[in-house]
Symmetry: D2
Subunit: 148 residues, 4 copies
DNA sequence: TTTT
DNA sequence: TTTT
């Protein structure tokens, strides 16, 4: 019997651009956007402050992608949960190249919106990014009628 | 508009007992079991080693509960992901009491099984604990046919 | 040889009160504050929207407690990482009671401050809550001079 | 004032090789090893089972690297916590290339060892990977003498 | 009540 | 290159 593995990444950062959508035949789509996380620390040897920005390639799918495209703007703060996936591609010289993406499985917007009511306005827990559930609240809760 | 919150707990520990099931009218069920996590450290003042065991009340629902009941045995190591929920109850004197549970949303067995093939045998990623998905692999992957 | 366990909780929520400090002989201190996380979902049986607020008892120690007391105000949004600890106490009738705390190990403020420069202003990664490091940036980075 | 970001990855997987050490002048060192996580799911379009293995480049520092080198063997299961860092390098044609590493901040061994007593034998919580603390238990606990 |  |  298989025993399990875990591949989970949790990010809080600011988007570096709007969501770029790609639509596929059959109705699927993905959205991509860069997310920046920062760290600052003192280099103990030189006593200098060091600032690093790490850029993450976020990939969201289907309904979740559409929600992100609609409500997530460049510079917004967002919580992203997902898994790491490194994909191989060929550059223009036919060389193998690798890029590491974050395949988003949950997200929640952290930038306060004072705008009108939105689909996400009613959700205060991270949204699952399943095909047909992206705009819905967590689904563990709503699929039964247990008395607790 | 609401901006989001997060309530996530991630545990690796050993079960202190088998899963106790409760079945409800309408077909729902929950399973409960205790999970132990440990910490050891040196008390710097006394230079003594201190061992602490923390017991967590794990609650699993529906199909996931049935999978756990079937394959998770007392003493097994397991990864549990979920959210914290504190519930109020009355003791036999009518006093309000509170108990904090971990409502399990994902799990993966970490004790190697050399037994016969099981429903979980084919899943090496944490299992989502939704009503109808408990025995299936992560559902983000299988609900589209995107070319990546 | 021991194999490990994990006891980790990650929360994003709003503080329900200012930080209450307790000082101990010897110079130690702790801060306590309540943190609210929310979930909303549709009850599929009744089709009603359900809103739940979960309150977490956050416990921070020493320097980290002092930073929180100084900069974290009621209503602020904050990321808290820690471990679960359930403690036993006696009520006024001598009955055993249990309360579950979140012992904070890292935190990062999520409410934008437009105020003057603060100790936390220079840290954009979660702060470790060790006794002597609370106001410092992550310490993994600054304790060596490795060329990367 | 800066508000915070989070860059956290949590993995459970199997090592694909022993730890490769690099030592630096001044006494620092790093260890590197590959970690595999797996996912399996049913492609709903083709009804075929799909198996994917994801390889992560784990980087551990200093004392933690030495502990891993000593006790972590090819094929072992391990929990790794860290942050994502993508670094740039030049290939032999001078082209910019990028590789994404997991800078390990905590780890705990999940493969039971029946061997002799080890430095890690007394720790059942994830080990922090700071320069001088790698072999020690979590340090939040041992740096004060608070009465709880 | 687990595990090492 | 792991594991089931």
């Amino acid at each position: 019997m298989a025993s399990g593995t875990l591949n989970k990444i949790m990010l809080i950062g600011h988007t570096g651009d709007d969501v770029k959508m790609t639509y596929f035949e059959g109705g699927g789509c993905i959205g991509r956007f860069p997310l920046a996380t920062n760290e600052e620390y003192i280099n103990k040897s030189t006593n200098e402050k060091v600032s690093n920005t790490e850029w993450h390639n976020i990939v969201v799918r289907n309904k979740a992608a559409e929600v992100c495209e609609k409500y997530l703007k460049k510079g917004d703060k967002v919580y992203i949960e997902g898994r790491i996936k490194t994909r191989k591609w060929q550059d223009d010289k036919g060389m193998d190249r690798y890029t590491t993406d974050v395949q988003c499985t949950e997200f929640t917007f952290l930038t306060p919106k004072d705008s009108v009511n939105t689909p996400t306005a009613n959700s205060t827990e991270p949204q699952k990014t399943q095909a047909s559930k992206a705009q819905n609240p967590p689904i563990e809760e709503d699929n039964d009628d247990l008395p607790f």
